[in-house]
């Protein structure tokens, strides 16, 4: 019998035990597929980014080139294009492009079709353990929408009014991983696919998260779900907020977590107001 081996300190020793990369594989352990992602990127995102939404990006230098970072953005549109456009912006503009992991609702894992596709193009279920593994252990970029579906299902008349930022779970996740938070303000997604009303009955029948009425949906059928209007996109990355300066276990302090979450929300909201004031046209920017 060998003597009892000393158990390693949790996080650092465990990080060394992450599985090695198998170069023959085209799908990551998260179910993300290079092939599918590349295909959609070439056929759809490229065109949307450059010609349809004509994205303009500011402050890309605020996205760190190494280490984990949590990007926090406002969220809008029936089938929100903002996440994909932020990922594309990092790919196109950043000096060291890195994959971005989008946290999505658990709903997508359980709905046929979405379940296959969302993980393939970089969606990760918004579970705190998932975010922690990505940020702390794998040191990746993670994008969260703290508004969640409260942001996407809001009606056109409420555009650019940020909803509640969850319960501050994203701040806690960043604190635990000691990863900086990068707030992101996106203008344009609200007009790209505005929601005028919700059809509750059809939502219940289809089991979807919501069943919206947009300029093209449902009267143009399922294709209408991709019917984005050509609004001008502006994506502004704001200065990162470090989360390692608040002591040993700052997430225990619920008050601090809430305060930080509210501050980030206020910063994004202010930035949005600022960008909207400077915008002369919805379509031409």
């Amino acid at each position: 019998m060998s003597p009892r081996p000393a158990l390693p300190a949790p996080s650092d020793a465990l990080r060394a035990q992450l599985p090695a990369i198998e170069p023959d594989r085209q799908v990551t352990d998260w179910g993300r597929s290079e092939r599918v992602e590349g295909l959609i990127d070439r056929t759809l995102y490229d065109w949307l980014y450059h010609y349809w939404f004509r994205c303009e990006v500011e402050g890309i230098e605020h996205v760190p080139s190494t280490g984990g970072a949590l990007l926090v953005s406002n969220h809008a549109g029936a089938l929100p294009p903002d996440g994909a456009m932020i990922a594309k912006a990092i790919k196109e503009e950043h000096p060291r492009p890195r994959p971005l992991h989008l946290t999505v609702e658990h709903f997508f894992k359980g709905y046929p079709g979405f379940s296959m596709l969302v993980a393939k193009i970089g969606g990760v279920p918004a579970h705190p353990a998932n975010v922690h593994r990505l940020l702390a252990d794998e040191e990746q970029l993670v994008l969260v929408f703290p508004e969640g579906r409260k942001g996407t299902e809001k009606l056109y008349k409420d555009r650019y009014r940020l909803r509640r930022f969850g319960r501050g779970g994203f701040v806690e996740a960043a604190m635990r991983a000691r990863a900086p938070i990068v707030p992101v303000a996106v203008v344009g997604a609200e007009e790209a696919m505005p929601i005028f009303a919700h059809l509750t009955l059809l939502q219940r029948v289809t089991g979807l998260l919501y069943f919206p009425v947009t300029p093209t949906f449902p009267h143009l059928g399922p294709v209408g779900f991709l019917g984005y209007l050509p609004a001008k996109f502006r994506i502004r990355f704001l200065e990162p907020i470090p989360t390692d300066g608040w002591g040993e276990e700052p997430w225990q302090d619920r008050g601090l977590v809430q305060t930080v979450a509210d501050e980030i929300r206020a910063r994004v909201q202010e930035e949005l107001i600022d960008m909207l004031a400077a915008r002369r046209s919805v379509w031409f920017g």
Binding site: S2, P5, L14, Q17, P19, V27, D29, W30, G31, A129
Partner: protein, 354 residues
């Protein structure tokens, strides 16, 4: 000197574990118990047939002064036995085995419990990688799952009541190997891999060699607590199908999957309750705690599937090559106890063995 008792020695990994321990000179005695005959040839392991409930185990443990109990008998696949039998084995059996190991006068110092990742279940709101401290987000969905949860709760209670005993719980991902008969092994043997339309679940396997290796590691090292055992890497089902060079067949509809599974059963394809959930939501385990404890797994999930593919190609040839082992009590007793048999220890005296 260790004196080991292996339950479920008639299972493939139980037999393989006993074979591996036989090679270890530090192991003095190995006793294998099971309700069924051993399926692998054992040299110095003594086999005792017991009932499914393992009721009389305490007497064996006391009489043989067993210090290490490896409990590898848990039913983790609804394929291998009926729900009632599985319940007897998993809940009542575990209770009796733990009762045999506990108590102030018990010689047992270590219990290794082979459990399953079915403990975590498969749900929509699962984390992508389960760590050992996580509990399942919802109550068990199938009888087998609730039996496994109940068995593990009993083991946890035992560990709390008996701090002098090192209790290791190993939660295994789905096993894969040409010599293992599991429901997923059968599924991947089909000419096309059935799946649920619109789902591409994440899967993790552990090769049968690594199952044995992890159990052996837990016997020879001190690993208190719970450990996930799964190959590195999580594959999606479509990736597995392409490694197997088989097409995916989305024969199960996303709604009414249970009904379609019942139809498939008539056609000879058995989709168990646990499997239906895995085919929908998939499951990933975080195996880093085990790796940090020094256990090296030989196969990643991808390599396990590749190995399985290769083994399947030559499976028929291998099957015909050697006569399968059959346990016969008289022959075994002759080989072990007859003064006319020359045993290995006598043939080549090994000083380290004494």
């Amino acid at each position: 000197m260790t004196r080991i008792l292996v339950t479920g020695v008639s299972s493939h990994w139980g037999g393989r574990l006993a074979q591996a321990l036989e090679q270890d000179p530090a192991v003095e005695t190995i006793i294998g118990v099971s309700p069924r005959d051993p399926t692998l040839e054992l040299e110095r392991t003594e086999f005792v047939r017991v009932g499914t409930q393992h009721a009389l185990l305490r007497r064996i443990v006391q009489a043989a002064e067993i210090d290490t109990v490896v409990d590898s008998r848990l039913v983790v696949d609804s394929l291998s036995s009926s729900p009632r039998e599985a319940h007897e084995t998993n809940v009542i059996g575990t209770m009796n085995i733990l009762a045999a190991c506990g108590g102030p006068d018990s010689p047992v110092r270590k219990v290794v419990f082979k459990s399953s990742a079915h403990y975590y279940g498969c749900e929509r709101d699962d984390p992508a990688f389960f760590t050992e401290t996580m509990r399942r987000p919802h109550p068990p969905r199938t009888r087998l799952e609730s039996d496994i949860v109940e068995a593990e709760d009993a083991v946890r209670g035992f560990a709390e009541r008996n701090p002098q005993v090192t209790v290791t719980v190993l939660r295994f991902a789905n096993g894969l190997g040409a010599d293992l008969d599991t429901s997923h092994g059968r599924l991947l043997r089909l000419p096309a891999v059935p799946c649920i339309l619109g789902f591409d679940p994440r899967y993790q396997f552990v090769h049968s060699d690594d199952i044995v290796g992890a159990l052996e590691h837990a016997v020879t090292h001190e690993l208190p607590g719970t450990y996930n055992v799964a190959g590195d890497g999580v594959l999606v089902l479509s990736e597995i199908a392409s490694l197997l060079a088989r097409p995916l067949a989305p024969v199960l509809p996303p709604w009414g999957t249970g009904l379609a599974a019942a139809g498939l059963r008539v056609a000879g394809v058995r989709i168990t309750g646990e499997m239906a959930r895995q085919l929908r939501y998939g499951r990933g385990l975080d195996n880093r705690r085990l790796k940090a404890a020094g256990c090296r797994l030989r196969y990643t999930t991808r390599e396990a599937v590749q190995r399985y593919t290769e083994d399947l190609r030559v499976h028929r040839l291998r099957q015909g090559a050697g006569a399968p082992y059959r346990y016969e009590r008289e022959v075994e007793e002759f080989l072990r106890y007859s003064p006319n048999v020359r045993r290995r220890a006598e043939r080549e005296p090994d000083p380290s063995a004494r």
